[in-house]
Amino acid sequence: MQDKELKIEKIRNGTVIDHIPSGRALKVLKILNIDENVKTTVSIGIHVTSKKSGFKDIVKIEDRYLASKEIAKIALIAPNATVNKIKDYEVVEKYNVVPPSEIAGIVKCSNPACVTNANEPVVPEFYVISTEPIRIKCKYCEREMEGGDIIQNII
C-alpha cells in the first residue's frame, strides 16, 4: 500500500485486525475490553475502502498481542477478519480468524429463562453450529443465536 493511501499510520509493534465487516470495529474493541481506561494507542478505521469487500473496518492496537481466545472471540462477529502481529513495522505472523467449535464465557445466552442467566456458578457455553453465517446454540437451554443477537450479548 502506498503511503498516500494510508489513513492510519503504520504501527511499530502490536496487532492489526483487518477485514472487519464495516461498522463492527467498535464491537471488536468491546470484545477486547478496550475502553476509556486503555493504556496503549489504538487507531480505528471505520468504513475504509477495501479491495476485497467494498468497505471494511480496521483496528490497530499498539504494543499488545492477542491471545488465541481473544482471536476466537473476534471470529464470532468478524468471521473474515485477519489478525496481523507486527514487530518493528513488519508483519511477523498473520492469521485468519477461525470460529471455535465451542465457546465458553464469551457470550451470554439471550434466553432470559436460561439457567445460565440465573445467578448460578456456571459460565454460559455454546456449540458453534454454523460458521457462515455464524450460529451458536446454548449448551443448557438449546436456544440458538445468530448475528446481532450474538453481538448484543457479548460479555
Binding site: N111, A113, C114, V115, T116, A118, N119, E120, P121, V122, C138, K139, Y140, C141, E142, R143
Partner: protein, 305 residues
C-alpha cells in the same frame, strides 16, 4: 448401557437404548400393576419438583416404591433453602450426596443440564421450563410401540397447539427418527415451527393441514394436545377453534379400526368423555405407562438392569 447416564434430552439416547428401555418397561408392567419387587432396595431417589406436577412426580415416586427403593422429596419448594437464596448448584451438590439418583423439574430452561454438571449420580430431567421432558417423550413412544408393535411407517397425527409445546416438538423429532410419517394438524397461528418441519421433513413425509376430518381416515395414531385459551386474544375465536378440534364419536366415524388416541393429559375438553369407552382411547394407558417406563429408566441408570 444406561448405567450412570444422565437423561436430559431425548437426544441423549440412541435408538438402541430407547428400544432397550421399551423392552425393560414391558417386563416392568406387572410390577407396576402391584407385584412389587426389591430390585432397587437400599437405593434412594431424590425428587426435586420446583414446579408443580402430579402425574410425573407420582409416577416417578411410584416407580421407585414398586422397585423397593426409597424416595426423598420436599413438599413445597417455598420451604427449601433455594427460597433463602441458595443456588441450584449447591442444592444439587447436597441432595446428590444424600441420594443415588435425582429427578428434577424446574422453571429455568437448562436447569437439569446444570444439575447434571454438579451431581455425580444420574440426573433425570422431568421438565425444565418450556424445555425438554424426555421421559414424557419415551412414554409416548412406548405407548405407540406397545400397542401397534412398531413406530416405523405409522401415520401419526399431531393435533392442536404445535407451536408452543416444546414437548410435542421433541416428540415430532423422535417420531421422525423412528421413521413415522407425520401429519401436523393445527389451527392457523399455532402451526409447528418451520425449523421443526424442516428437520423432520429431511427424514420422513410430513403433511400439514388445518382440517382433522380430511386426514382422520389415514391415521394410525392421533396425538391430541391442548389448545390454550391464553393463545387467543379473542375468546370467541378460541371457542370456535377449540370446538373444531374437539374429538368426539362423530370425529371418529371415518377412523381406522385400530387407530389409537393419545393425550399427555390433563385434558380439558379436547376429547369428549364418550371417546374414553372406545378401543381408540389409550390416553389413560399412556399415563399408566409413565410408571413402567420410569421403572425401566431408574433401574437402568442405576445399573441394576
Amino acid at each position: 448401557m444406561l448405567k450412570g447416564k444422565d437423561i436430559i434430552t431425548i437426544k441423549d439416547l440412541s435408538k438402541r437404548e430407547i428400544f432397550e428401555i421399551f423392552e425393560t418397561a414391558k417386563e416392568m408392567i406387572p410390577i407396576a400393576k402391584g407385584k412389587s419387587i426389591d430390585l432397587l432396595k437400599g437405593k434412594i431417589l431424590a425428587t426435586l419438583f420446583f414446579e408443580p406436577s402430579t402425574r410425573t412426580r407420582f409416577s416417578f415416586e411410584t416407580a421407585m416404591h414398586r422397585l423397593g427403593g426409597e424416595v426423598i422429596s420436599f413438599a413445597d419448594p417455598k420451604t427449601t433453602s433455594i427460597s433463602k437464596g441458595e443456588t441450584l448448584a449447591d442444592t444439587i451438590r447436597i441432595v446428590d450426596s444424600y441420594s443415588d439418583v435425582i429427578v428434577i423439574r424446574h422453571s429455568y430452561e437448562g436447569a437439569a443440564k446444570l444439575a447434571s454438571k454438579f451431581a455425580d449420580h444420574p440426573v433425570i430431567n422431568a421438565g425444565d421450563g418450556a424445555g425438554q421432558h424426555p421421559t414424557q417423550t419415551l412414554l409416548d413412544l412406548f405407548t405407540i410401540w406397545s400397542n401397534l408393535g412398531k413406530i416405523e411407517n405409522l401415520n401419526v397425527g399431531l393435533l392442536g397447539d404445535l407451536k408452543y409445546g416444546r414437548t410435542v416438538h421433541s416428540l415430532a423429532l423422535a417420531l421422525a427418527d423412528f421413521g413415522a410419517n407425520l401429519y401436523m394438524i393445527s389451527p392457523k397461528g399455532l402451526e409447528m415451527p418451520d425449523h421443526i418441519n424442516r428437520e423432520v421433513g429431511e427424514k420422513i413425509k410430513v403433511k400439514k393441514t388445518e382440517d382433522l376430518l380430511s386426514v382422520i381416515g389415514e391415521l394410525d395414531v392421533l396425538y391430541v394436545t391442548r389448545i390454550q385459551k391464553e393463545r387467543f386474544p379473542d375468546i370467541n375465536e378460541y371457542l370456535k377453534i377449540a370446538g373444531s378440534y374437539r374429538i368426539d364419536l362423530s370425529t371418529l366415524e371415518k377412523a381406522k379400526k385400530d387407530l389409537i388416541i393419545l393425550h399427555p393429559l390433563p385434558r380439558i375438553d379436547e376429547i369428549s368423555p364418550d371417546v374414553d369407552y372406545t378401543p381408540h382411547a389409550k390416553y389413560f394407558e399412556q399415563a399408566f405407562n409413565g410408571v413402567p417406563v420410569r421403572m425401566a429408566i431408574l433401574s437402568m441408570v442405576m445399573g441394576v438392569r
